[in-house]
């Protein structure tokens, strides 16, 4: 079985098929950006994108993702390390405090902006409502998503 993680093809050993994918990514691939904060799919800290759709992976198994295209937070920046405009907006707007929800939040917002490049603040608020953050009150996260939106408008 194969996974496509951040543009790379990964051959999954048979023994890992029944593993939870959050553990496979974190332990076997050392992609620790996805956090396991609740174990029941309630908080969004483990969110990754599967074919550009947000997925809460703490409750899913590796075999559920056969042949799927996965994007984790580690795959967002350019290969030379330049931040994606959405990541840069998070940095510049003060959207990061403890940073534990940040990877899931960035990926959820990325998936949203890919589909809705001209959102209102209300739509942004609704788009991230499944991702919990205890530090920021969400305001600067919404600022960041709004600030990054123009980049998505000019993509195609």
């Amino acid at each position: 079985m194969k996974l496509f993680v951040n543009g790379k093809e990964i051959e999954v050993p048979a023994a890992a098929m029944e593993k939870r994918i959050v553990e496979f990514l974190r332990e076997d691939l050392d992609l620790t950006g996805a956090k396991n904060a609740c174990d029941i799919g309630a908080c969004g800290a483990c969110t990754i994108l599967v074919n550009d759709e947000p997925s809460r992976i703490c409750i899913k198994l590796v075999k559920d993702f056969a042949g799927q295209r996965i994007l984790t937070i580690e795959g967002m920046a350019a290969p030379d390390g330049t931040l994606h405009p959405l990541q840069q907006a998070f940095v510049d707007c003060g959207a990061i405090q403890c940073g534990y929800c940040t990877p899931g939040m960035v990926l959820t917002a990325h998936a949203f902006l890919l589909k809705h490049p001209r959102p209102t603040r209300g739509e942004i608020r609704a788009a991230i409502f499944k991702n919990l953050c205890r530090c920021t009150g969400y305001q600067q996260i919404i600022d960041a998503v709004e600030q990054a939106a123009p980049h998505y408008q000019n993509r195609k």
Partner: protein
């Protein structure tokens, strides 16, 4: 690292936004063992024996530890040593840990922990704090002799006389709920025995590396120098990663020491919610005497705080409630009696706000009730009573050492939200649509840092290198709030150097002296103070070394734009060149400085004294609607104004305030730790509901800056002040929307009754 010219600067933002920041659970060590705690399933019981046999037989289990395996001290506590590393004599609450299983994998440890059996004689549980205070109540701690952990008083003037002067007396009972910090990262620790010298390295999620080290060393029976607690990125604390986080580290360190291998213990959310201490639920009986002219003549109040099974910091939390029991109002006659109480409920300890959110919920509603009765607006009533420059607080402290900005922040909020205009639009239970509109506000003052709670001093080290780069370190801990960045900004500004020269050194208890815990909104004022003093000392050293070369006296040397300057003729040396020359001069551009909090005083018998060395002032207002049919509250807009002294990193200060307001909205409307017969039922984030993006309103923050003379940077505090006001503001707004007061938290509204004919008629 973000660009210094961006509107917000954090030294860890790049690592966090790319997923490279390594939190405790992300760290990897070879040959690591995994641990899991075992609970008893009991609430109050005398332990007869703990049966670990079945767990030990599970393949992959390496060892099961209980209290018998603790070589040092099993009991600890910052005030009373009543908490246990492992339960020994009794089970006192649902979260008591009786054993810990260490296994080759986490899954095995978790499964085996379920097999640990506690044989115990059940005892009647004491779950009501008022009942716990009665003489016939079963004792939670027999050797304490009573379930009353502590008492505090304020005795000012003569309340009988004060009530005589009043035209009317208001009396009301309030109740607040237990809430959970709900930091996104649960408690976690990895402890690694260092092969070279036997030191145990502790990596963990805690906001108090030094007290963690104290507890770990005591538990292991070793010296402080044999434990090194190493700062690790932390996924939120909010006051919650103090005692419980220390025990988690101590148990893990014990396993690592006994087994000679790295051991990792990462808490499941259910363990964290069950075991970690919470915000105290309060019961408050409040009596206020008021004149028809709108002056508060007297306050009498009785506060009962349910501290749960162990003392933790209950005496300190309730002390702040006592000192601030009248809010930011001048009252001549005050009698306050406060009790911290043991029960068999979940332990209560430090949480952001630390005894003020409960009291502000009471006070800020009482003043509005009093205003209404006196025929005044809530704002006018507040103006007639609030503290001003030179006012004397209820503990006899004269507020004259700093700018008393109470009215300034109130005015800022009123203007920004257009309060007076919008107040007239409030529905008061009647509206043409189902959505009833209301606006409300609350204000407070707050003593900064620890006050008379304890020893308050902090260290900083600046170590400039021969190439002009700078290593900076303080005893303050990065909890996610951005303290490392604030310290770096303060250092760069004081030295007049480019921020990019500075690297904040990873904190370690083996590098810098014990500077206390990073709590009480003391990070910026204490750590920043120490950094400023260290930077000034470094400048004095550099000035002495180069004044001759610059053609001026040492005290004429200036530091600006990455250069060291002489008098006006333009003589200057680049900072980097100066550092290289100092090396050649055999001088270290290295300084260590200590900032000590100014003296405070307290008389425990009268409750009088200069409780805190300075104060901050805040005001928050909120607009909302309440749906008549469903009772659903929708927060629309909120405004906050806080005097922070000086905003070191303004966008991060705003972030603290936004986050504090959101958390306070959760306190008002959603959050409650629930239990049945002492057993917790809200064990994860699906049943414990913290605010989502769609629950919080649009927010606006006004930063008021009156630099404080006692703070070397001018900066004061914001973490907690931000978190103690929105709940009472929401309660007041709900009153203005519905015409109904709510004296218990969280506020739960069902369908509202139709206004009665009488109410219409009386209008």
């Amino acid at each position: 690292m973000s660009k210094p010219e961006a509107k917000c600067w954090r030294n860890d933002a790049h690592a966090k936004v790319t997923g490279r920041a390594k939190f405790t659970d992300d760290l990897k060590f070879v040959n690591v063992l995994h641990a899991a705690p075992a609970y008893s399933g009991l609430v109050h019981a005398r332990i007869l024996s703990i049966d670990t046999g079945a767990a030990e037989k599970v393949p992959g289990v390496v060892r099961v530890l209980t209290a018998k395996d603790v070589p040092g001290v099993n009991r600890f506590g910052q005030i009373i040593r009543d908490m246990r590393i492992f339960a020994d004599d009794k089970i006192r609450y649902d979260g008591d840990v009786v054993a810990m299983v260490i296994a080759e994998t986490r899954e095995i440890a978790i499964q085996a922990a379920l097999l640990v059996r506690t044989n115990a004689e059940p005892l009647p549980a004491v779950l009501d704090p008022e009942a716990a205070m009665l003489p016939e109540a079963p004792l939670v701690h027999e050797n304490h002799g009573s379930n009353i952990v502590n008492t505090h008083v304020v005795r000012r003037g003569d309340v009988a006389e004060g009530f005589k002067q009043a035209d009317f007396i208001l009396e009301e009972k309030f109740q607040t709920q237990t809430i959970e910090h709900a930091y996104m990262e649960t408690e976690a620790a990895i402890c690694v025995p260092r092969s070279t010298d036997g030191v145990i390295e502790v990596y963990g999620s805690m906001q108090h590396p030094f007290s963690t080290r104290r507890f770990v060393a005591a538990c292991l029976g070793v010296t402080l120098a044999e434990i090194e607690v190493i700062g690790t990125p932390m996924g939120g604390g909010f006051g919650g990663k103090d005692d419980t986080a220390a025990i988690v580290c101590a148990r893990t360190a014990l396993a690592a020491k006994l087994l000679g291998r790295p051991v990792k213990l990462v808490y499941r959310r259910e363990w964290s919610m069950r075991e970690s201490y919470k915000r105290h639920p309060y019961r408050v009986h409040y009596k206020m005497g008021v004149t028809n002219a709108g002056r508060i003549t007297a306050v009498q109040c009785r506060i009962v705080a349910d501290g749960g099974a162990y003392c933790s910091v209950t005496p300190w939390v309730t002390w702040r409630s006592t000192v601030q029991c009248c809010g930011p109002y001048v009252v001549e006659h005050v009698q306050c009696d406060t009790f911290g109480v043991y029960t068999n409920n979940v332990v209560a300890g430090a949480m952001r706000g630390f005894g003020s959110p409960q009291m502000n919920f009471v006070i800020e509603q009482m003043v509005e009730v009093a205003a209404q009765r006196a025929g005044l607006s809530g704002i006018e009533f507040r103006r007639r009573n609030l503290v001003r420059q030179g006012s004397v607080t209820i503990t006899g402290q004269k507020l004259d050492g700093h700018t008393v900005a109470m009215e300034q922040v109130l005015n800022a909020v009123l203007k920004e939200i257009d309060y007076e205009t919008k107040l007239k639009r409030c529905a008061h239970g009647r509206g043409e649509t189902d959505e009833l509109y209301g606006i409300g506000l609350a204000m407070s003052y707050r003593g900064v840092s620890l006050g008379a709670e304890g020893v308050d001093f902090c260290a900083a080290i600046i170590n400039a290198q021969a190439d002009g780069s700078i290593l900076l370190e303080t005893g303050i801990h990065e909890n996610g709030q951005g303290s490392d960045s604030a310290m770096s900004l303060i250092c760069a500004a004081e030295l007049g150097v480019d921020l990019n020269r500075i690297r904040y050194r990873r904190a370690s208890t083996s590098n810098i002296p014990d500077s206390g815990t990073t709590v009480a909104s003391r990070g910026t004022i204490m750590g920043g103070g120490a950094v400023t003093l260290a930077a000034r000392e470094l400048k004095a050293k550099i000035a002495a070394a180069f004044c001759k070369q610059l053609g001026c006296a040492a005290d004429e040397v200036r530091f600006k734009d990455d250069f060291i300057w002489g008098r006006a003729d333009g003589a200057r040396i680049a900072f980097g060149d100066a550092m290289r020359q100092m090396w050649q001069l055999q001088q270290f551009p290295f300084t260590f400085a200590t900032f000590r909090a100014p003296r405070v005083s307290w008389d425990e018998h009268t409750g009088q004294g200069d409780a805190y060395f300075t104060w901050v002032y805040g005001c928050q207002a909120v607009e909302l609607t309440v749906n008549k049919k469903t009772g659903k509250v929708k927060l629309l807009n909120a405004v906050a104004a806080h005097d922070v002294g000086r905003a070191v990193n303004p966008e991060m200060v705003r972030g603290q305030i936004y986050g504090g307001m959101a958390m306070s909205a959760g306190y008002a409307l959603h959050e409650e730790v629930k239990a049945t017969a002492g057993k917790m039922t809200t064990l994860n984030l699906n049943t414990y509901r913290i605010p989502r993006s769609t629950d919080v309103p649009k927010m606006k923050v006004i930063l008021v800056e009156n630099p404080d003379p006692v703070s070397p940077t001018g900066a004061k505090s914001i973490g907690e002040p931000a978190n103690e006001l929105l709940a009472p503001a929401i309660a007041n707004a709900i009153f203005h929307a519905t015409g109904r007061r709510h004296c218990s938290l969280p506020i739960r509204l069902g369908a509202l009754p139709e206004p009665t004919a009488c109410a219409e008629g009386c209008q």
